[in-house]
């Protein structure tokens, strides 16, 4: 599916030119305000990027299934059917939210100011497991070591509830309620690091450098005071620069998801004509 990869590169570049970020530093945390996600001009490129992410994840599942079960499911028709199922599921909006953050990390290194993201998990399409939304390994410029970037993406109408709930969800990490899964994901990502980074990883587990990244998709309201300090963040003993609140503001969030899914379906129909 080389044509899909070429299309994706083009779409990523287009999307990169269309979205922008405002960075604000408060005393207690960093804020990234993502701009222009909702615009109609962004929709085609974003839908294409989302399709590429979904295809890659599902393609991995297909290939694994073929090798484990000798099944023959890796056709474009099956791929499209799986993506259709994803878009029709109750899990579709949370998945799109996670995937958008993943795409932002890919296109904009500076979205994660503590250091360059070296590897990051793809947003998984399965709704059968609850757990970590996104996990990456980055090089921490401040602490001079490898660190773990942990993302929690949330859709909320109310900004303040969204922020509090997503920030509080990192307690699961602090209290080791997701410790085994986080460790397994890091072990799983480590083969994708460069040899030099991999050799350092034993000591880096000990340092436990990390960033907490709540990503909130909320409905715009002029009464919101976006730049205020967030008390919930104070409970975490990591540097304030490592608490990164990513805010995506929408006038009509439900319509955004609906129109993005429509665009993705439209592009899938075009795929079929290319097969």
């Amino acid at each position: 599916m080389e044509w899909l990869k070429d299309n994706t590169k083009k779409a990523l570049n287009e999307f990169k030119d269309l979205v922008s970020f405002d960075k604000v530093t408060t005393e207690g945390h960093e804020i990234i305000l993502v701009k222009n996600l909702e615009s109609e001009t962004t929709r085609v490129a974003l839908a294409n990027c989302l399709l590429a992410v979904a295809s890659q994840v599902i393609q991995h599942d297909f290939e694994l299934s073929v090798l484990l079960l000798n099944s023959k499911r890796d056709s474009v028709e099956n791929l499209i059917r799986e993506i259709d199922t994803l878009l029709a599921s109750t899990h579709s909006n949370p998945w799109i939210a996670e995937a958008i953050f993943f795409i932002l990390v890919v296109i904009a290194e500076d979205i994660h100011s503590p250091g360059k993201m070296l590897v990051h998990t793809l947003p998984h399409t399965s709704a059968t497991r609850q757990g970590l939304d996104g996990t990456g390994i980055y090089f921490d410029n401040l602490l001079d070591c490898l660190g773990t970037a942990i993302t929690e993406a949330k859709n909320y109408d109310d900004l303040n509830n969204g922020i509090s709930n997503s920030i509080n969800s990192f307690q699961k990490i602090e209290q080791d309620q997701l410790g085994a899964e986080l460790r397994s994901v890091l072990y799983g990502l480590s083969p994708f690091l460069s040899t030099a980074h991999r050799e350092k990883i034993i000591g880096e587990f000990w340092k436990q450098a990390r960033t907490y990244i709540p990503v909130v998709f909320f409905v715009s309201d002029p009464s919101y005071r976006i730049l205020i300090e967030r008390k919930a963040f104070a409970q975490y003993a990591i540097p304030n620069t490592h608490k990164i609140l990513v805010l995506n503001e929408f006038i009509d969030r439900e319509n955004f998801y609906k129109s993005i899914k429509e665009e993705m379906r439209k592009q899938m129909k075009e795929w079929m004509q290319n097969v």
């Binding site: 059968t128 309620q177 085994a180 072990y187 034993i202 000990w206």
Partner: protein
């Protein structure tokens, strides 16, 4: 908190970022005290759990499990010590973290159960079979008391049956679920069923009932590890981790398999293997034993049949002196006779 034997084991682990074995022992001791405190306050809502202790245990576990499982350059005794340290940290963690966080039906084994399971496997790799059995028993209780799929229960029981000396189940691998769940869940379950099947074959090998060479089982696991890594996704992280644990478990424990590591006498090999199988299966009054414990392995290496002709075995009650005696007697009877002396009539009876 640790006797001199355990202290010597822990002292073998490398220094990590200027922290040494004394610091690691201190972390474990502080966590134990925290646990005592936690239990004393378990009915009081005002007790705030010490996050720092939990964090220290987690980093101790992650760091040394990585050395034990992934560092192919580390010497065997360092890997063993690292696995022991990780097992201790995880064992304490299981007692500090809450077992059931999610009220929703969980389709997969949860954080608490994974931690119990890996602590049990790491203890076994380190040669601490009794500690392992305690963790594995709690793990089995946890997964059997809730609504986990039969496929997953079957897969894990193939491994836990080896750890706790249960009888091997004959080949009866369930079919992976087909359309009930999505593809990634189906893949995850299939991986675990394949892992279970390998564990079942290993169990057969340990009992002297399998023609599949142990190396072949390890190679198959290596193939799975490569395959899952290539198609890595967070949903496969735990199955991949269990694959790696089983690989190390098979590799390290196979070296102390009773059936395969005891040298055969020159005569009556068939009868001798039947005798070994009786030890492995156990009898009416005794449970089966698949593995030599480290002290027994030391005896076998040095004395069965030589080069050391004389030995005194001095180990705690229940640590396998009788098994050593049985093995020594069985070899000696092939060559001549045995005089068995006991200090009291009660012991003779």
């Amino acid at each position: 908190m640790f006797d001199s034997y355990l202290k010597n084991i822990i002292d073998k682990v490398p220094t990590i970022n200027e922290y040494n074995s004394n610091d690691f022992r201190t972390i474990l001791s502080e966590a134990y005290l925290e646990l005592v405190n936690y239990r004393a306050h378990s009915n009081k809502t005002e007790y705030v759990q010490e996050v720092e202790v939990i964090t220290s245990l987690r980093k101790l576990a992650d760091t040394f499990e990585y050395i034990g499982l992934f560092n192919s350059n580390a010497e065997l005794e360092i890997k063993t010590a690292a696995c022991f340290l990780a097992a201790e940290a995880l064992s304490l963690l299981t007692q500090l973290i809450k077992p059931n966080l999610q009220e929703d039906k969980e389709l997969f084994i949860n954080n608490y159960e994974i931690t119990l399971f890996e602590s049990g496997i790491l203890y076994f790799i380190a040669g601490y079979d009794a500690n392992s059995r305690t963790m594995i028993k709690t793990f089995k209780q946890s997964i059997n008391e809730r609504d986990l799929s039969d496929e997953l229960k079957w897969a894990f029981s193939q491994i836990t049956n080896i750890c706790d000396g249960s009888k091997r189940l004959e080949d009866s691998e369930p079919e992976p679920p087909v359309m009930d769940y999505n593809l990634s869940y189906q893949n995850s379950v299939t991986i675990l069923l394949r892992i279970g099947k390998i564990a079942n074959h290993y169990h057969a090998w340990l009992g002297g009932d399998s023609k599949t060479p142990m190396d072949e089982l390890i190679n198959t696991l290596d193939d799975y590890i490569k395959l899952i890594t290539k198609h890595f996704s967070p949903i496969y992280a735990v199955p991949l981790h269990i694959c790696r644990l089983l690989r190390e478990f098979i590799w390290s424990t196979s070296q102390r398999s009773i059936f395969h590591s005891i040298p055969r006498p020159t005569n009556n090999i068939g009868d001798y293997e039947l005798f070994l199988k009786n030890i492995i299966l156990g009898g009416k009054d005794s449970t089966g034993q698949l593995f030599l414990w480290p002290s027994a392995q030391n005896f076998v290496d040095k004395c069965l049949p030589g080069p050391i002709p004389h030995s005194i075995v001095c180990t705690p009650t229940g640590s396998g002196k009788s098994t050593i005696a049985k093995l020594a007697i069985s070899h000696a009877l092939n060559e001549g006779w045995v005089l068995y002396l006991a200090p009291t009539n009660a012991l003779v009876h």
